[in-house]
């Protein structure tokens, strides 16, 4: 009896090899938990470092080895799509997460240790906090959380099923909520950031989930391909479906930080420990846009004429509002947060083109932006005062005199954000605008141009402050980081320059892999 029932259920076909990047990271996360359980507090950090970097490398190699044409398939019963964009997104996430991991690991820039609270449970400013800090303890739980989050991202960008998408979203987000609240310094702000991120994130994922439910109710399937079929077979889009699309869109747009769902971004970016911020601005952004692309191109592709105008509006709003508000910022991290919003807008411009070049353009933009942004955040960690990072812009005056190298690299990233040619930012903007023009979104390009000019102001202002002003007395100082941060910054800078000078490599790679499987 049982045997027959079991036989009637087909054995799920599970492509372990192709899923190995996700599985590796998942395993790393689980092992990390075990490390927490079984290693003494002195050895934990070391073990975690070995574990995380090994797993990241392994996962990346798994991506590289399998991402060829033969490795493109719908796997796990069609719930995961390992296609060109999927592989590229996974690879990018792993690399960018790797850079963030280096920042997570950095413990030399702050005399008290790494960027995370020694014990998150201690009261900020309390006696206990002082003691654990003095003991030099570290909250090593960040590592498994980090690995879980990466696992979620890898799955999120390849999810071909609304349920998988939702689960991946949560796997990706829940650790982030925690990580956001773990800053060593300015813990009140950090905790507040975690709370805000959590409540709003939960709200957004609930909205996404409800949208998924309505989609399911309408199409009878959770799988993107079949949703698409279900939509095409209907004559017109009834209210149920349009509402579903809108709700799913909100869930995704929240993650990418599009206006008007962007308000969490500045607060969370500012409050979180800087390595976590870099992770959010880099890897999470890549993942969120990856998911957005797939859901809308594959599942809701048939209704492109319905949702595209809205994306236009959102994209325009995001670019303009992000750039305009950034103008008034006096805190560098917060400014970068708005910059991240504005950049999200530019990516949406490419996204709104809804053609093959658009996919490539979005991917190029994501790669260019994520590396540069991680580099910029990494540099923030080096510019310090007694109380921690010095992110008040006005205090950066004359930084170029104190450390031409740090200021110079920062300028490089700023120029890249501003889209000056010969940096990766220009390559990115060029591809996005090209895609948009090809896709008929020229008016959006004009708004993008306008926003770029506004955005240039605040990027350039940073350079002006650092190089054209005299240093203030008792201003911030620049610390020399360990090898970790050095590698992170160097790689970001190299990628930023190389993508600017020789964009061909990446464009070729991405263009050859810009088709979604459905």
């Amino acid at each position: 009896m049982i045997q027959t029932v079991l036989n009637s259920i087909p054995t799920p076909n599970f492509e372990y090899a192709l899923l190995s990047p996700i599985l590796i990271m998942f395993a790393a996360a689980c092992l990390g938990v075990l490390v927490e359980a079984f290693f003494s507090i002195e050895k934990r950090r070391f073990a975690h470092l070995i574990l995380i970097f090994t797993s990241l490398l392994l996962a990346f190699f798994a991506v590289v080895l399998q991402s060829g044409p033969s490795g493109r398939a719908l796997v796990a019963n069609g719930t995961v799509a390992l296609d060109g964009p999927g592989w590229i997104l996974q690879g990018t996430i792993l690399l960018v997460a790797g850079l963030s991991a280096l920042l997570f690991a950095e413990s030399k820039v702050d005399p008290l240790g790494d960027s995370f609270a020694s014990r998150a449970s201690t009261l900020p400013g309390g006696q206990e906090e002082k003691i654990v800090t003095k003991l030099g303890w570290a909250q090593t739980e960040i590592w498994p959380l980090f690995s879980f989050s990466i696992t979620g991202m890898l799955l999120f960008v390849t999810a071909n099923d609304l349920l998988v998408l939702f689960v991946a979203l949560e796997v990706m987000s829940l650790p982030l909520y925690l990580l956001a609240g773990l800053a060593r310094r300015r813990r009140l702000l950090s905790q507040e950031a975690a709370l805000k991120y959590f409540i709003l994130g939960a709200l957004a994922s609930a909205i996404l989930l409800f949208g998924s439910a309505l989609t399911y109710a309408y199409t009878g399937s959770l799988e993107f391909g079949q949703i698409s079929n279900g939509i095409s077979s209907a004559n017109n889009a009834p209210g149920l479906l349009t509402a579903a699309i809108a709700l799913v869109a909100v869930g995704m747009l929240f993650k990418v930080g599009a206006v008007p769902f962007h308000q969490w971004v500045p607060d969370v970016y500012t409050g979180s420990p800087t390595p976590v911020t870099s992770f959010m601005a880099g890897a999470v952004k890549v993942a969120a846009f990856g998911g957005l692309l797939r859901v809308f191109y594959v599942a809701f592709g048939a209704l492109v004429w319905d949702w595209r105008p809205l994306i236009w509006v959102v994209a325009g709003l995001t670019m303009v509002v992000g750039s305009v508000i950034a103008l008034a910022q006096s805190d560098f991290k917060r400014m970068l947060a708005y910059s991240s919003i504005a950049n999200g807008g530019f990516i949406l411009v490419g996204f709104s083109a809804t053609n093959r070049p658009a996919i490539a353009a979005v991917l190029i933009y994501l790669i260019a932006y994520s590396f540069a942004t991680v580099g910029a955040f990494a540099l923030i960690t080096l510019i310090r005062e007694q109380a921690g990072e010095s992110s008040s812009l006005i205090r950066w005056k004359g930084l170029g005199k104190k450390s031409p190298l740090v200021a110079g690299l920062m300028s490089l990233f700023m120029l890249s954000f501003a889209g000056i040619p010969l940096t990766s930012g220009f390559t990115a903007k060029f591809s996005v605008f090209t895609a948009a023009v090809t896709g008929g979104a020229t008016p959006l390009v004009l708004i993008g141009v306008l926003a770029s000019v506004i955005a240039a102001v605040f990027y350039i202002r940073v350079i002006i402050l650092m190089f054209f002003s005299e240093p203030i007395p008792d201003g911030p100082f620049v610390v020399v980081p360990s090898i970790f941060t050095t590698i992170a910054i160097t790689s970001s800078a190299v990628v930023t320059i190389l993508l600017g000078l020789f964009p061909q490599v990446i464009i070729d790679l991405v263009s050859s892999a810009s088709v979604f499987l459905r």
Binding site: L178, L188, K196, S212, A213, L214, Y216
Partner: protein, 99 residues
């Protein structure tokens, strides 16, 4: 059966949840409202499952419950920390980060 009634109900629950997030100051209550929204989605899933005669929707509801449980863990941890620091679970008090 008429599935639209169930969907309408789930919509109403969802809206109540959303309003709860907007209106309630206490972080825990706000969080519970989010749970309500998730459950509204569950209702819609189950309705869809029934309409299409599949099990997928019902399975999904279980997944959602599990995820919700995980969310509770994380959420309570965060809220607890906040409460310990500020002696209050009001979301309005956490407004240092702005502009």
């Amino acid at each position: 059966m008429n599935p639209s009634a169930y969907l309408v109900l789930s919509g109403i629950i969802f809206s109540i949840g959303a309003l709860g997030v907007l209106l309630r100051r206490n972080a825990i209550v706000a969080f519970m409202s989010v749970e309500l929204m998730l459950n509204a989605a569950n209702l819609a899933f189950v309705t869809g499952s029934r309409v299409w005669g599949q099990l997928d929707g019902q399975t999904t509801a279980f997944f959602v419950m599990v995820v919700a449980a995980a969310e509770v863990v994380v959420g309570l941890a965060i809220i607890l920390t906040i409460f310990r620091t500020r002696n209050s679970a009001s979301v309005d008090e956490a407004s240092l980060l702005r502009w």
